[in-house]
């Protein structure tokens, strides 16, 4: 199986609400949505982002627009207003997800 990074087939934007981070995952080709749903699970995302995400990861599916939304709790060092992190909003974290390596599906 060919190994690829998510960034090769999908794009993403992250956003914050308090200490919770959300990261979208949107395949460039809508046909890729189906196999991505079995390969990019909440568990795999939690494991991939273990340095960042300290809480639960929930995956929401949007089959209408062929996109996923990963909601990651306890991920922003307390949240934008009091965090000591350099990227208080976690705006750069979409690229952390896109670095994830997976096996290309069909």
């Amino acid at each position: 199986m060919e190994k690829i990074k998510l960034i090769d087939i999908a794009h993403s934007r992250s956003g914050d609400k308090g200490n919770t981070l959300n990261i979208s995952l949107i395949p460039y080709k809508e046909d890729d949505y189906e196999w991505l749903s079995s390969s990019v699970t909440a568990e795999k995302v939690k494991d991939h982002l273990k340095h960042i995400v300290k809480g639960k990861v929930t995956r929401y599916e949007l089959p209408n627009i062929k996109a996923f939304n990963f909601v990651c709790e306890e991920s922003l060092m307390g949240g934008v207003t009091t965090s000591l992190a350099i990227d208080t909003h976690g705006k750069s974290l979409s690229n952390a997800l896109l670095e994830m390596e997976i096996e290309r599906g069909k």
Partner: protein, 435 residues
């Protein structure tokens, strides 16, 4: 068909795109959103120092540029840039209009400020603690919804100035007003909320915050156009921008914005409804034109969310850079020295290697940098304590690794934000007309 433009997506947004939208967009309404969570607390502090201040620092500049064309083109302006002082903002707008020999009416919508209505017993949503654990509280503002804006829309006001209003409501209110939608038709209100949500960050749907050369190329970002929506009576809308501006509107930009700062897309809670974005349909119907339909919603919540700002201390911060083949080793040595010097007094000290691991708290893959910038930060009780952080970084010049350069230090007040909820009946909204 109703046309609503988005002229600012945050307090300090660029002004030129809004000007172009008013001049050439054939708009009915222009919305300026400029109130991040902390902004209102900072504004409240300015108002305490000077009672005529406390509104957006760029509002005057925006009004001077936009007012003549807004009036000429008959475009109504709605903005939350009144921040902690919508009344002060309205008086200033009238003053500017007089200076420019223009006549305009301004409506203010107030009632979001609930500082006098909450107390220490209120439960904090994020932590489960009580508000009394977050003293001293600086500001408390409820996120008002469309029902608070409708009375102002029914007046002759050219400009409507508010404080805290939920961002999508700023866009939804003129749609509901224009088409006479029923506030309890939650299917329509949910679809209108999605239109507002898509527009509220302005350039973030037209190719701003999107470009990645080679993967997601965007032409003409330097001349990025802001979006407007053409909205049909049934709530279906086309998001587009002016032809002569840079950027792009396509399925990709709209999808990214649809999920921006969203948790459960089936339950997006606003003061107006609980919107369901998962039923939405998107379709590219032309160059830079995406048609949005199908979002829905459920009954609105009984409470308003309240954003509470409190004084959380002072941030002390310092940075210094290293370069060359051993940049990483010297950066790590500097980090080690700073931790040994500071951790005793500041146990929560955060140290970072910028260029290595500061953004993702580690590295995914292994890359060796040519330059490394060491950063330390701590949340301190006093300004004096906060100053010692940067002071220790600066002292690395003569007390640390070789060839450190570009040391900088900074101290700033930290305003924390937490949320609570207040019953709707405790809020009294006031609409006043000025000018």
């Amino acid at each position: 068909m109703l046309r609503i433009g988005s002229g600012a997506g945050f307090a300090g947004d660029r002004i030129e795109p809004a000007k172009a939208l008013v001049e050439e967009g054939n708009l009915d309404y222009l919305i300026l959103e400029g109130l991040a969570e902390r902004t209102i607390a900072l504004s409240q502090k300015q108002k305490q120092i000077n009672p005529s201040h406390g509104y957006n620092e760029y509002l005057e500049e925006r009004i001077r540029i936009l007012l003549p064309i807004l009036l000429k083109k008959n475009v109504r302006l709605i903005t939350n840039m009144g921040a902690a002082n919508p009344t002060g903002a309205a008086k200033k707008i009238i003053e500017i209009a007089k200076e420019m020999n223009l006549t305009c009416k301004v409506a203010t919508v107030t009632g979001d400020d609930v500082l006098g209505k909450i107390n220490g017993n209120y439960k904090v949503f994020e932590s489960g603690k009580r508000l009394r654990d977050y003293e001293p509280v600086i500001s408390a503002n409820a996120y008002l919804g469309i029902d608070s804006l409708l009375p102002a829309l029914e007046t002759e006001a050219d400009i409507i100035v508010t404080g805290r209003v939920a961002d999508p409501s700023l866009f939804l209110a003129p749609i509901v007003h224009h088409y006479g939608w029923n506030l309890e038709d939650y299917e329509l209100i949910g679809q209108g909320t999605l239109i507002g949500h898509l527009l509220e960050c302005a350039g973030q749907i037209t190719g701003g915050y999107f470009a990645d050369p080679g993967r997601k190329d965007v032409q003409g970002l330097e001349n990025l156009g802001f979006p407007y929506a053409v909205i049909e009576p049934n709530g279906n809308a086309t998001i587009t921008k002016l032809d002569n501006t840079g950027g792009t509107i396509c399925l990709q930009t709209v999808k990214e914005q649809l999920l921006y700062e969203v948790h459960d897309p089936e339950n997006y809670i606003t003061p107006d409804c609980i919107a369901n974005f998962s039923t939405a349909k998107l379709e590219e119907v032309g160059k830079d034109q995406v048609r949005v339909s199908g979002a829905s919603g459920k009954r609105k919540p009984d409470t308003f969310k309240v954003s509470v700002g409190y004084h959380a201390g002072f941030l002390g911060e310092g940075e210094i850079s290293f370069a060359g083949i051993s940049a990483l080793e010297r950066g790590e040595l500097a980090q080690d020295i700073l931790e040994k010097r500071l951790l005793k007094s500041f146990p929560d000290l955060k140290t970072d290697l910028i260029g290595v691991s500061s953004l993702h708290h580690g590295q995914i893959g292994n890359y060796r940098p040519y330059e490394v910038r060491v950063r330390v930060a701590a949340l301190c009780g006093t300004v004096e304590e906060a100053k010692t952080i940067g002071h220790e970084v600066e002292a690395l010049y003569t007390n640390g690794p070789a060839a450190g350069g570009g040391a900088r230090k900074r101290v700033e007040e930290v305003i924390g934000i937490v949320s609570t909820f207040i019953n709707r009946e405790e809020i009294t909204v006031n609409t006043e007309i000025w000018g």
